[in-house]
């Protein structure tokens, strides 16, 4: 009964005050009224109001009062107050009362107001609000009060305001935003306020008070889902790590906090946390056995982070798996994760259709998790792992992408060595590179402990700096005594340092052939390894120097070389054979290309030979299309020119150079550009014969033979064929035949554009690129108008959805080229029509 009367009394007072404030013009009156109202907020002992009154005012009238004040912000009386009075009687209203209501009113007012002095004033108050730690107060107030005291809608709004405060401010203020409202400052502030709230919770729990962490957890989740998990958790994780190290209560608080994060935000909190903590132990302390109680967390940790989201760095992966392995209760989850990882790794369809980066990520995860297994567990999983390894190895080695093969080899090696087949570990020969080294390093368990920063201990400690700065001195001082050593005993042999004598090899008995026909004869019939090698080494220069002889026997010699096998293990055999064949194809272009292109589709060749044919054709075309340089001249006379240069210093014959130099040094030049000689125009030797290279290769591709099925299993050759065709097309730029070639090539690749093998797809896209590059834009529009639309759609499709990154970027490139070409053509046409 009493409370009802109090409530009515307060309502009356407030209403009266409002009236006074609206109508009165007397400054003193207004001050008195405001002071009376302020007294409801004062907690001090000398306060004139009772606590029940204060409580009631805070509950029912505080917001109203604030709203009233804000709506009267333009009132005359406000501006007639002195600055001190204004701060005390007006600004304090927002900083003293319940912070949630204050924040809501402030945010609402700021969104509604136009840019004005009043807005500036409110922004200033908000800044003070943030700086005076009212956010922590706000969070803490929700920790202690029971959840049912306010409506979910209000909570939701408040959460939205807290998490989006930088956005709201930026929307209103854009360029003049104050630094404390920038996300870079605000979110760390929020993080430290949350930490403060947690700390107070801990104290309260020690004192036996019940607290609820749901609002803090919601705030954390909301902020994380909005993409600020990095900046928030970067501040919170180290602190939590330190606090949870020894304090069990802190751990309980953290676990509770994580448990209270709503399901829909759990993922972003967990992923952020995994990246922010350093090492699995810390993660274990902070989130406890969350994965066992929370289905969502389990799904994220054992499935999403390991198999689907492949963007994380290796340390994060290490943290997740280490966390799963660290506790006895969680170990079944590790086993489960290994099962799914090994299945994902061995899945042939995944190898074909998932991006390379994801495969690498899964490989890393698999290696890491296997390295964490105990021997007993390994025994249990052994048969499963073995099966997966065998299948996975096969599908990896089948891939046409070298990186996939290499990844498969490394993982296979590591798995087999870990499983220990009694000394029968797999061993592959591959060139070690950054990636393989990283993979190999994963299988050895990470022994070094997590480097946890001690509180107050800066990360760049002065000791390490001083160590690094002194170390060079040590090195020099050590090396100095050695420097004076030699030279003391002048009379001994030993002061002569030997030159490099590795070139001192045994000389062969036979001499290289001097005639091309001898060379051919030796290559065809000789059984003498030395003579064959000499002939092969001499062959290219013989072909290039004896053009006429080479033309006569070009096809015969090409045939011999194509069928030649490396019987004698000649070093550089493949290169020698290839360069000779290229020389032949360049010298006697038409017959050799006819021969090679026919042989490409005939029976009884190995894949290697067919690939050789393609390579030779591509290289020959490349050489033909390059402008004739003086490379040959200089390479044959390299020795003489070197000798000449030795004499140049005192040779009077070079006076011309001297004079020229002198003239140049005396002449002042405004621009340097003109001194370079213009490129000598030379005929393109490739343009007239491009058709001979190109069109025969397009025949017969769809006629499978017993030994050669281009559209079937031999997709390796298909990929190379298309790539070569693209190259031939690219080299034919500016040739009259380019339009025809482009048309034919587009027709050809159309059939295989959705090939399952990524090498083939890459080849196709490369070919398309080169078509757009080399075809004149005019004929592109005229000849291909019916196909262009479809091609564009297909390219856009690939650019968006292809699992291979190269394919995607190639598709984008093709699109750009196409657009550029079309635009140019349309502009030209417009210009033409304007002129006419």
């Amino acid at each position: 009964m009493e409370s009802v009367s109090t409530n009515a009394e307060i309502r009356l007072t407030v209403a009266q005050s409002f009236r006074t404030l609206t109508s009165s013009t007397d400054c003193k009156d207004i001050i008195a009224t405001l002071q009376a109202l302020v007294s409801y907020l004062d907690d001090g002992a000398e306060s004139k109001t009772t606590s029940a009154e204060r409580e009631e005012f805070r509950r029912a009238h505080y917001s109203r009062t604030l709203q009233f004040l804000v709506s009267n912000i333009q009132a005359d009386w406000l501006w007639s107050l002195s600055a001190a009075h204004r701060a005390e009687l007006w600004d304090n209203w927002f900083l003293k009362g319940p912070p949630d209501q204050a924040l809501l009113v402030l945010m609402d007012a700021i969104t509604e107001l136009r840019p004005s002095t009043s807005l500036d004033h409110l922004v200033g108050i908000t800044e003070k609000f943030l700086q005076s730690g009212r956010l922590a107060e706000l969070l803490w107030s929700y920790c202690v009060q029971s959840a049912s005291s306010d409506s979910p809608q209000l909570r939701e709004t408040l959460l939205g305001r807290i998490s989006a405060l930088p956005d709201i401010m930026a929307n209103k203020l854009h360029p003049d935003i104050r630094p404390c409202f920038l996300p870079q400052q605000y979110y760390p502030l929020l993080a430290s306020e949350m930490l403060a709230a947690l700390e107070r919770t801990c104290h309260a729990l020690r004192d036996g008070t019940d607290c609820s962490l749901s609002f803090v957890a919601q705030t954390l989740g909301k902020v994380c889902i909005q993409g600020h998990s990095g900046s928030v958790l970067a501040l919170m994780a180290p602190r939590l790590c330190v606090c949870t190290r020894s304090d069990m209560l802190w751990r309980r608080v953290c676990w509770k906090l994580l448990e209270s994060v709503p399901q829909r935000w759990m993922e972003s909190v967990l992923t952020g946390l995994v990246q922010a903590v350093r090492g699995p132990d810390t993660l274990g302390r902070i989130i406890g056995n969350l994965v066992l109680t929370n289905k969502k967390a389990q799904f994220v940790m054992t499935h999403k982070l390991l198999l689907l989201q492949y963007k994380y760095e290796t340390p994060a992966l290490r943290t997740v798996l280490g966390y799963l392995a660290a506790d006895r209760d969680r170990r079944p989850l590790l086993i489960q994760a290994i099962r799914s990882l090994s299945q994902a790794w061995a899945n042939p369809s995944a190898i074909r259709h998932t991006p390379l980066e994801q495969q690498l990520y899964v490989s890393k995860a698999l290696l890491l998790s296997v390295s964490l297994l105990k021997d007993s567990e390994l025994q249990e999983l052994r048969s499963e792992l073995l099966q997966c390894m065998l299948g996975g190895m096969q599908s990896h080695l089948d891939s046409s992408v070298p990186r996939v093969r290499k990844m498969g080899m490394v993982v296979g090696e590591c798995l087999s060595s870990r499983m220990d087949f009694k000394g029968a570990a797999l061993k592959f020969e591959y060139e070690p590179d950054e990636e393989t080294r990283e993979l190999l390093s994963l299988i050895t368990p990470d022994t070094c402990d997590e480097p946890e920063p001690e509180p107050g201990n800066g990360r760049d400690s002065p000791e390490s700096v001083s160590q690094t700065s002194t170390s060079p001195q040590n090195v020099t001082s050590q090396s100095q005594p050695g420097g004076t050593g030699p030279g003391s005993d002048l009379d001994s042999d030993d002061d002569f340092t030997p030159y490099d004598m590795s070139a001192d090899q045994e000389t062969g008995r036979a001499s290289p052939p001097r005639y091309l026909r001898d060379c051919l004869e030796t290559l065809t019939s000789s059984e003498d390894a030395e003579r064959v090698e000499l002939s092969l080494r001499a062959a290219e220069s013989l072909v290039r120097t004896n053009v006429f002889a080479a033309r006569e026997i070009s096809v015969q010699m090409t045939k011999v070389l194509l069928h030649m096998e490396d019987k004698y293990r000649i070093s550089g055999f493949l290169r020698l054979r290839q360069t000779t064949m290229v020389a032949l194809a360049v010298t006697a272009c038409i017959p050799v290309t006819q021969y090679l292109t026919t042989e490409f589709y005939s029976l009884n060749y190995s894949l290697r030979q067919r690939l050789d044919i393609l390579e030779v054709l591509a290289l020959a075309a490349q050489e033909l299309s390059a402008p004739i340089s003086d490379k040959n001249v200089s390479s044959s006379g390299g020795r003489t020119s070197a000798e000449l240069s030795l004499h140049q210093s005192d040779d009077p014959a070079h006076w011309r150079q001297v004079v020229e130099k002198r003239i140049q040094s005396k002449t002042k030049r405004i621009s340097k550009g003109a001194t370079q000689p213009a490129a000598q125009p030379t005929p393109n030797r490739y343009a007239p014969v491009a058709g001979y290279f190109f069109f025969p290769l397009l025949r017969n591709y769809d006629k499978p033979q017993v030994t050669f099925d281009l559209l079937g299993s031999d997709h390796l050759v298909l990929g190379r064929l298309i790539h070569t065709l693209g190259l031939l097309m690219h080299l034919a730029v500016n040739a009259p035949i380019a339009a025809q070639m482009g048309r034919a090539l587009l027709d050809f690749v159309w059939a295989v554009r959705y090939h399952a093998d990524q090498m083939v797809r890459r080849g196709v896209l490369f070919a398309v690129c080169s078509v757009f590059l080399s075809m004149p834009s005019q004929s592109l529009l005229v000849d291909l108008s019916d196909q262009l639309f479809e091609t564009r759609t297909w390219l856009a499709d690939v650019a968006e959805g292809d699992p291979d990154e190269d394919c995607r970027s190639l598709a984008v490139q093709s699109l750009v080229l196409l657009d550029k070409s079309l635009k140019k053509q349309l502009e030209d046409q417009q210009a033409l029509s304007l002129e006419s």
Partner: protein, 328 residues
């Protein structure tokens, strides 16, 4: 990492035939000269400053020149050819006048050996008409001093080296024979002091360091044999050096006794430290057998050059392990 193999500092071309022999004369006031004897019978005199031939002496009318040398005292040129003659040429005043000639009678390839006993008197040793015969005559009087014929059948004389020991006794002569034997002759006593079978194959070349009483010989096989004279003038075989490819045409020790160079049939010149026979460098430039090597006799050791003459008709000049300019 060892230094890359050196390159010649320059080459001399235009001799028109295989270079059988090389001889430097760089210690005078005149510009340094290099004499080369070639297969086509010409002796080229190269000026090493201009790097061009100063003069070409058609010494042996088309017969291969196998040895050239100069007399320190008069500056006269000695040349030996396959026409069985040793000729003495006066080069003074830019002329080229045949002073004298000696008929040797040897159809072999054995190069002469010259020993200047005094400023006017010289001893010249050469292979004689008979198979194992070595003749020694006095120049310029052409008086025969002695004829040395071993008792055993040793085959042709392949190479000889005449020198006078510092102990003051009469001149001694080292000779290599076709069966691989190495003989030390006392010229005044006309007796064999020591005999050793140094190689299974003919001794192709030998050289001797009178200061250290050490010598080395090469053959058509894959090794160089070094040997030493003890106090009783016995030849003691010492360690040998194994080469990569067989066949050595000529070997030569640098004046300062620190370097040894060998001309190989495998187109390469090999450099060794003379003391321990440590391989130091392999000089690759020529495209055919290297027939001759010579170190120059510059007064300033830093200018010392190494010349190599080859069957490919070129002479390459190298500056290697010269103090100051090129210390190892």
């Amino acid at each position: 990492m060892s230094r890359p193999a050196p390159n010649p500092i320059y080459t001399l071309r235009g001799a028109g035939g295989a270079l059988n022999t090389l001889h430097f004369r760089c210690n005078g006031q005149d510009s340094p000269l290099l004499f080369s004897g070639s297969e086509n019978g010409a002796v080229h005199i190269w000026n090493l400053n201009s790097r061009r031939p100063v003069k070409v002496v058609e010494a042996h009318t088309g017969s291969s020149v196998i040895w050239v040398s100069t007399l320190q005292s008069t500056g006269s040129l000695l040349s030996q050819g396959r026409d069985l003659q040793v000729c003495l040429w006066d080069l003074r005043d830019g002329g080229c006048e045949l002073l004298d000639s000696v008929w040797t009678g040897s159809v072999g390839f054995c190069q002469c050996s010259l020993l200047e006993t005094s400023s006017t008197n010289h001893l010249l040793a050469f292979a004689g008409q008979q198979t194992e015969e070595i003749k020694i005559i006095e120049l310029p009087s052409k008086n025969p001093v002695c004829t040395l014929i071993p008792e055993a059948k040793l085959g042709m004389v392949m190479c000889i080296k005449l020198w006078k020991p510092e102990s003051g006794v009469g001149p001694l002569l080292l000779a290599g024979y076709e069966d691989g034997s190495l003989l030390l002759w006392d010229v005044t006593q006309r007796s064999v002091l020591s005999q050793v079978k140094a190689h299974p194959e003919p001794v192709m070349c030998l050289t001797f360091d009178p200061k250290r009483l050490r010598g080395i010989s090469g053959s058509s096989e894959k090794k160089l044999s070094s040997w030493m004279l003890d106090s009783q003038n016995n030849i003691q075989l010492q360690d040998s050096v194994v080469l990569v490819n067989p066949g050595v045409s000529q070997i030569c020790i640098r004046e300062d006794g620190r370097l040894l160079a060998s001309a190989g049939w495998d187109h390469r010149v090999r450099i060794f430290g003379w003391k321990k026979l440590r391989p130091l460098a392999v000089l690759q430039y020529h495209t055919d057998m290297v027939l001759s090597v010579a170190f120059s006799d510059h007064l300033d050791p830093r200018q010392t050059l190494l010349a190599a003459g080859s069957k490919d008709q070129r002479i390459s000049l190298w500056s290697i392990y010269n103090e100051g300019s090129d210390t190892g």
